[in-house]
Amino acid sequence: MKKLIYYLLPVAILALFIGIMLSGSYLKQPRGEDDSVSGKLVLVKEAVQKGDWKSAQQEIDNLEEAWEKVVPRIQFSMEKNEINDLGVSLTRARAAITAKDIAGALMELEEAEHHWHSLGN
């Protein structure tokens, strides 16, 4: 039994570490309705394309809230730059929506989507 623990303990520790390091792709998936980043990105894009700025403003708020919920889960396994860049894209998209700039908002939302897909890959 002692010998088993002697060999099993380091293997278990290494397995735990690998699990933590690779958990990002799994943990970025939504756990409920309010933390679905990819789902909310689609809703913001739809609102912007329709020119419904009031709804777009509401959806970008929801999107940023969802993103804030996801970041603590994925921070141990994802690169800081990608996380920061996605945050910056959302801030720019919010500014473009406030300015009612369709082209600018869509550009930033597309970039945010790109960062989202790059996370963990």
Partner: protein
Amino acid sequence: MNEALVVIVRGVIGFFTLLIFARLLGKQQISQLSFFDYILGITIGSIAASLTTDLTTRAWPHWVGLAVWTFLVAVLQLLTLKWRYAGKYIDGEPTVVIMNGKIMENAMKKLRYRTSELLEQLRLQNVFDISQVEFAVLEVNGQLSVLKKSQYQTVTTQDLNISTNYQGIGTELIYDGVVVEQNLGQVNLDRTWLDDQLRSEGINDPAEVFLANLDTQGNLYIDKYQDHLQKLTDIGDYPGPH
């Protein structure tokens, strides 16, 4: 993103991964490492450091790098162990730099090993007169092994035909104030015997003892926490901060 928290978690991952990998690679001491092993150690340490603090990339690629380097070191270790030719090819061979009292200039030139370095390493071996040396071998790890001429070698008790008693490894019976019952049993002694010995030294409680060691002659060395020294020898030659 809480950077400090991420660094703490990645630090724990790097630290214990390195610990496990180092145990996996074995017990080679730093002094026995070849130059290549030394460089490998630095590289592996550097990757572990990046894993901990380089937050611009994920931890996983660093960890894979760490695993690959460790794996390759383990493969090289196995290869050099099982295949002597590979061992010589990878680690190199010891080189004789003094043979029968003569300096091997060509061998030294091949090694890019200077005379001043030879003399320095001889001095480190307590040889201040090169004429006393019969053989000197530069080992793979860069250390110099020296065989003095027979007339300059230290006289041993065997040379003088003096019989000596067996001397083995001592056994710790008290460590940091705590009796090591397992060691006491190993030398077929018991607590009563130990207490008698301590009382004869004026010690009533093992907790007063910092270290008690029994040698193979049966002599018990006892060092107490309270040493009662009147004057401590100061080896400092300059008034420092302490």
